[in-house]
Symmetry: C2
Subunit: 228 residues, 2 copies
């Protein structure tokens, strides 16, 4: 599903350049559950933003479903693919502050052309599955940190994406609530979908089939949990 060769991303910051990714090779077969770990600042979110088509690499090759993303100049085509195929859980949640939890989760369904009734039914179902049945009308400012994180997860899952990209989806959750979210991911994976999850939690990584360890913008090693 994903094929990456020598992928690099350099941020320019005034006169300084920050090489966040220095050349990554990676293949993610369809249906795999891959975890990404690494120290703070090692390039995990940068890689996720490229995989989620929200940012363009500085250089390198990136094929998604056989489509050469690095050659695609057309932003409309990029956002079409993104809206239909990919669910993204942001590290900083990225919820719209003036919309309720329900409206935030409905948003991706608007892009998909769902009817208002269908949207509301599917979004409230998604919020129920992440354990927030009685927070639908709260705006993000009226939610706890972990509740915002779960709204972000619900929004990513509501379109039933074939590729779920989750950037540290359990950092603000206690272990029981975090486990509930991980079980949701397991069931999405069980249906044949592809998951890429960034985490600092080894318990999350233990559920994956492979773990990509990043360090200083490079692949340090690829690990199969249980085999070291």
């Amino acid at each position: 599903l994903i094929r990456i060769r020598s992928l690099a991303k350099t941020y320019s910051q005034g006169s300084i350049t920050v090489p966040a990714l220095r050349g990554i090779d990676l293949d993610v077969p369809r249906g795999e559950y891959l975890a990404i770990m690494g120290p703070s600042g090692s390039g995990k979110s940068t890689l996720m933003n490229l995989l989620g088509l929200m940012d363009k690499p500085t250089s390198g090759e990136f094929l998604l479903n056989g489509i050469d993303i690095s050659a695609l100049a057309d932003d409309d085509e990029l956002s079409r693919i993104r809206g239909v195929e990919i669910g993204f859980v942001f590290q900083n949640f990225n919820l719209l502050a003036r919309q309720t939890a329900l409206e935030n989760v409905e948003l991706p369904l608007i892009y998909q052309g769902a009817s208002a009734q269908d949207r509301s039914a599917r979004a409230s179902e998604a919020l129920r599955t992440v354990g927030l049945p009685d927070r639908m009308d709260h705006r993000p400012g009226e939610l706890s940190g972990g509740q915002k994180q779960r709204v972000a997860v619900a929004r990513a899952l509501v379109t039933k994406p074939s590729l779920l990209l989750a950037d540290e989806p359990t950092g603000n959750l206690d272990s029981r609530t975090g486990t509930e979210i991980l079980e949701l991911f397991d069931s999405l994976h069980g249906k044949g979908n592809t998951l890429v999850v960034v985490t600092h939690d080894a318990r999350v990584a233990a559920r994956a089939q492979r773990v990509l360890h990043l360090k200083d913008g490079l692949v340090e090693r690829l690990e199969i949990p249980g085999q070291g």
Copy 2:
């Protein structure tokens, strides 16, 4: 240092009320290291916002350093106490987006009347101690999640507060970087300061002298790590 009796906080949300804290009794002696744990939504941040004088309780008694906070109507007095005595690490970092990391960390020192030279020296020292010597000129949007969290920690520590309140200070950090921050807290505590740290990570709580477990806005139990 902190004495709380029957402290309650109810949010009103349209016609609905949300009882986030339903009556908390707590004593925190000067120099104690207290951890607060509990499920997502159990009222931890709400309690921290009251302890940090950033919000007013709905009812109950709160004495800080012998001063009756619940009776203090004067907001100027509240922010004076806050600026001088308390360092606060926010769960969502709360950094100013248009200021650099250095300027963000300098901010509390402006309230304390430090000179520009002194501010810059102390703020860059604080950023060095959290492991960000070469990110001083980055704005929050140019930092990773864990780097933002560390800037928030540096800003809370730069005034050398006698009371540090940290709301989930390591959620976005890998274990090695997280340990470095916890060692900073240990050294602050070693100097006789009082620490209250909210966490979902049992390893963080293991460093505290007591752990307050919250559930649904009430104290479920008080634990002494190592004694169950």
